[in-house]
C-alpha cells in the first residue's frame, strides 16, 4: 500500500483474523481511511458507478442464464419465455440489455475524464492500461452478448463483424473459422459466444481488482492535476467519498431506471425482435450505439493503398483506434496533467469529443447519406483522420509547444481560492 496502515483491530476476532488474513485491514485501508484528494469533482464518481454496474450485469446475467437456451432452435424462444413467463423476466432482460448500454455510457465518461485531466500520465500509466484492457474486454463481452438473443441484428452483426477477419492476410480465415466454429454463424458460434460471454465478465472483475490496486498506489489524481502533498489536501474515503459516490450512484440509477421501465427498447434495434434468418439480410445492419464510432472508422477507408486492400486497412484502422489509446501516457508530452491549465489542448479535446459524436453518427448511417452536400463516407474519412491526428500529432506537438496557465500551489490552496477564502486563512477542524 502506498500509504501507511492505521488499522487497529479492536476485538478478539478481528485481531485473530488480522494475523492470519489481513483482509479487514485491506478493506479498511482501501475504502475507509484511504486519503483522497478533497477537490475531486463528480467526474470522479463514475468509477464507483462502474463498479456497481459491473455487479449489476453479473447478477442479472447469471439469473438470465438460468432461463436461456443457447441453441439456434431455442434461443429466441427462450428470450420470449423470459419476457413473458418468467417472474420479473422482463425486468432482468431489459435490465441487462439497458444495463450494458449504461455501463458503456459510464465507461466513456470515465475515460473522457481520464483524457481531460491527464489521469493516464505518470505515475498512473499501468492504471490506465489496465483500464484499457477492461474496456477492450467490455467491447468483446458486449458483442458476444448481443448475439445471444438470436434476432436478425444479432445474427447479421455477428456475420458482418466476423467477416472482417477475412481481410487479415494468411491467418484471417482460420481465425474466423475458429471464432465461428465453422464456415458461417451457426449453432457452434452461438455455443461458444455464450460460453465466452459468461466467462469474460469474471475476467473483467479480475482486471478491475488490479485496476483498483494500481489506483491505490499513487491514489486518485484530481482536477488540478497536482499530486497531494499532505493531509491538508485529502479527506478520508469514508465517509466523505462513500457518501458522494452513493449519491452519484443513486442519480445514475434513476437515469438508468427511466430507460429500463419507460423506454426499454429505445436503444435497441427493432430488427432484433425478428428471429434470425440466414436467408434474409436486413437493409441496414448497425451495431449498438456504443460501437458506432469504431464501426464508422472500420468503414471509413474505401480505397486501397498500394497492395493493402481497403477492407484490411479498415480493420487496421479500427483496431488501431483502440490500440493507440494504450500508448496515451507516452504520446502526451506535456508536463502539466490537467487540461484545466492547458487552453490549447482543451480546445482540441473538445473537438475530439465532437469528432467521436460525428463518427457515431456516421456509423449509424449508410455511407451515401449526405449532409449539406457532403457524403457520410467523406465525413467519416475526415473524422477518422482527426481521431488519429489528435493522438499522433496534436497530443505530442501541443504537449511540447503549449505554455500552460500557472498552476496553483497545491490542492488545498486551490480549494480555498475556489471557495472564495484567502489562502492564508487556514480554517477547518480537519487539518
Amino acid at each position: 500500500m502506498a500509504h501507511q496502515s492505521n488499522y487497529n483491530p479492536s476485538n478478539g476476532f478481528t485481531k485473530w483474523m488480522d494475523e492470519r488474513l489481513p483482509i479487514i485491514r485491506l478493506g479498511y485501508d482501501s475504502f475507509v481511511e484511504f486519503p483522497n484528494p478533497r477537490n475531486l469533482n463528480y467526474w470522479w464518481t463514475f468509477g464507483a458507478v462502474l463498479a456497481v454496474a459491473l455487479i449489476w450485469q453479473i447478477v442479472t446475467g447469471i439469473v438470465l442464464a438460468m432461463h436461456y437456451t443457447p441453441t439456434v432452435e431455442g434461443a429466441y424462444a427462450s428470450i420470449e419465455h423470459i419476457m413473458r413467463d418468467v417472474n420479473y423476466g422482463w425486468f432482468l432482460r431489459y435490465g441487462h440489455a439497458n444495463g450494458g448500454a449504461m455501463f458503456f455510457l459510464a465507461v466513456y465518461i470515465h475515460m473522457f475524464r481520464g483524457l481531460y485531466y491527464g489521469s493516464y500520465k505518470a505515475p498512473r500509466e499501468v492504471l490506465w492500461i489496465l483500464g484499457m484492457l477492461i474496456y477492450f474486454l467490455m467491447m468483446a463481452t458486449g458483442f458476444l452478448g448481443y448475439v445471444l438473443p438470436w434476432g436478425q441484428m444479432s445474427f447479421w452483426a455477428a456475420t458482418v463483424i466476423t467477416n472482417f477477419f477475412d481481410a487479415i492476410p494468411w491467418v484471417g480465415g482460420s481465425i474466423k473459422t475458429l471464432l465461428l466454429g465453422g464456415p458461417a454463424v451457426a449453432e457452434p458460434t452461438l455455443n461458444r459466444f455464450y460460453s465466452l460471454h459468461y466467462l469474460l465478465p469474471f475476467i473483467i472483475v479480475g482486471v478491475v481488482i488490479l485496476h483498483i490496486w494500481a489506483l491505490h498506489i499513487p491514489g486518485s489524481a484530481n482536477p488540478t492535476g497536482i499530486e497531494k502533498k499532505g493531509p491538508q489536501d485529502t479527506l478520508p474515503f469514508h465517509p466523505y467519498f462513500t457518501v458522494k459516490d452513493l449519491f452519484a450512484v443513486a442519480v445514475f440509477a434513476t437515469f438508468f431506471a427511466w430507460f429500463l421501465y419507460f423506454q426499454p427498447n429505445a436503444m435497441g434495434h427493432p430488427d432484433n425482435y425478428i428471429e434470425a434468418n440466414p436467408l434474409q439480410t436486413p437493409p441496414h445492419i448497425v451495431p449498438e450505439w456504443y460501437y458506432l464510432p469504431f464501426y464508422a472508422i472500420l468503414r471509413s477507408i474505401t480505397f486501397d493503398i498500394f497492395f493493402l486492400k481497403a477492407q484490411l486497412l479498415g480493420v487496421i484502422a479500427m483496431f488501431g483506434s483502440i490500440v493507440i489509446l494504450f500508448f496515451l501516457p507516452w504520446l502526451d508530452r506535456s508536463k502539466v496533467r490537467s487540461m484545466r491549465y492547458r487552453p490549447v489542448m482543451r480546445f482540441f479535446f473538445i473537438l475530439f469529443v465532437l469528432d467521436c459524436f460525428i463518427l457515431g453518427w456516421v456509423g449509424a448511417n449508410s455511407p451515401d447519406v449526405t449532409v449539406l452536400g457532403i457524403e457520410a463516407k467523406n465525413i467519416g474519412l475526415f473524422s477518422t483522420f482527426y481521431y488519429f491526428a489528435f493522438f499522433m500529432i496534436i497530443m505530442p506537438v501541443v504537449g511540447m509547444m503549449e505554455t500552460p496557465k500557472p498552476l496553483p500551489e497545491g490542492i488545498h490552496e486551490s480549494v480555498l481560492a475556489r471557495s472564495g477564502k484567502g489562502a492564508s486563512k487556514h480554517a477547518d477542524g480537519d487539518a
Binding site: F247, Q263, A266, A364, V369
Partner: protein, 262 residues
C-alpha cells in the same frame, strides 16, 4: 413517438443520441410520416384498454389469423392480468374453438379441442406452405410485430389504413402487389385485409376500418409486450423511490461535507 423519443434522448445528453435519432428516422424510410393515433398504453401511466384488446382479438381471429400466426401467445394469456383479462371460462371456450393435434389413449394421432396451455395455432403446416399460399411472400408472425417495426402500433395502424390512398402517377404497381405508402418500398404482397364491417364487434362498437385497425394494433402491442402494465406500475414506484433516495443521499452528502472546504 419517433421524434419525441429522439428529442428526449438528446435532452438527456446520452452519448450517441445524435446517431440514434437520425439513424431511426432514416431506417424507417424517412419520407412517409406515420399516422399518429392516441394509445392508452403510452406514457408513464399508460395501460391497455381491455375493451380494445378484446375487440382487437376479434379482428385478429376473424381476419388476420387466416394468414398470420401468433406463435408466442397462449390461450391462457387471454386471462392474464394486464391483458384482455377474459374470465377463465370464456378463455377456455375460446381455446376449445380451435382444433389441436393430440393423441388418444391408444397413442393414435387425433385432433382434440384446444385447451388453455395451447398456443394459437399457425394457419400453415410449415413455412414452405406459408410462402406457397401467398405467392412467395411469407406473412410474418404477428406476436412481436409491434416491437419489430419502429413505432410499431402507429406503423400497423398506418399500414392497415394505408391502402386507401391513391396510387401516384409515377408508380407502377407490380403484379400481385398492392400500393401502400407506409410499407418500405411502397408495394406490399398483403392484399388489403380490412375494409370496415369485417367483424361484428361483440360489444356493439361500430366496426369502421379505423376502429378495426386501431383495435388490432392495440391487441398486437399487448401480444408483443404483455407485461407492459406491470412494468409501468413498477417503474413509477421505482422512479419515485430512486428520486427520493437520490435526494436523501444528497442531503447526507451535504451534511457530511458541511464542515470541510472542497
Amino acid at each position: 413517438m419517433k421524434m419525441k423519443k429522439a428529442k428526449i434522448l438528446t435532452a438527456l445528453g446520452l452519448v450517441g443520441s445524435l446517431a440514434l435519432g437520425t439513424g431511426s428516422a432514416l431506417a424507417s424510410g424517412g419520407e412517409v410520416h406515420l399516422k399518429h393515433e392516441h394509445w392508452s398504453f403510452d406514457g408513464y401511466t399508460g395501460s391497455y384498454d381491455q375493451a380494445a384488446l378484446r375487440r382487437g382479438l376479434q379482428v385478429y381471429r376473424d381476419v388476420c389469423s387466416a394468414c398470420h400466426s401468433l406463435d408466442y401467445v397462449a390461450f391462457r394469456n387471454l386471462s392474464d392480468e394486464g391483458g384482455p383479462s377474459f374470465p377463465e371460462k370464456m378463455m377456455k371456450a375460446i381455446a376449445a374453438e380451435y382444433e389441436m393435434p393430440g393423441i388418444d389413449d391408444e397413442g393414435e394421432p387425433i385432433m382434440r379441442p384446444g385447451a388453455s396451455p395451447d398456443y394459437f395455432p399457425s394457419p400453415y403446416a410449415n413455412t414452405t406452405q406459408a410462402e406457397a399460399m401467398n405467392g412467395g411472400a411469407m406473412p410474418p408472425d404477428l406476436s412481436l410485430m409491434a416491437k419489430a417495426r419502429r413505432d410499431g402500433p402507429n406503423y400497423i395502424f398506418s399500414l392497415l389504413t394505408g391502402y386507401e390512398e391513391e396510387v401516384p402517377h409515377d408508380v407502377e404497381v407490380l403484379e400481385d402487389l398492392n400500393y401502400n405508402p407506409y410499407f418500405p418500398g411502397g408495394q406490399i404482397a398483403m392484399a388489403q385485409p380490412l375494409y370496415g364491417d369485417d367483424v361484428e364487434y361483440a360489444d356493439g362498437t361500430e366496426a369502421t376500418i379505423e376502429q378495426e385497425a386501431r383495435d388490432v394494433a392495440h391487441f398486437l402491442m399487448w401480444a408483443a409486450e404483455p407485461r407492459l402494465e406491470e412494468r409501468k406500475t413498477g417503474g413509477r414506484k421505482a422512479l419515485l423511490f430512486l428520486i427520493i433516495l437520490s435526494g436523501l443521499m444528497f442531503l447526507c452528502y451535504r451534511m457530511v461535507w458541511s464542515d470541510v472546504d472542497h
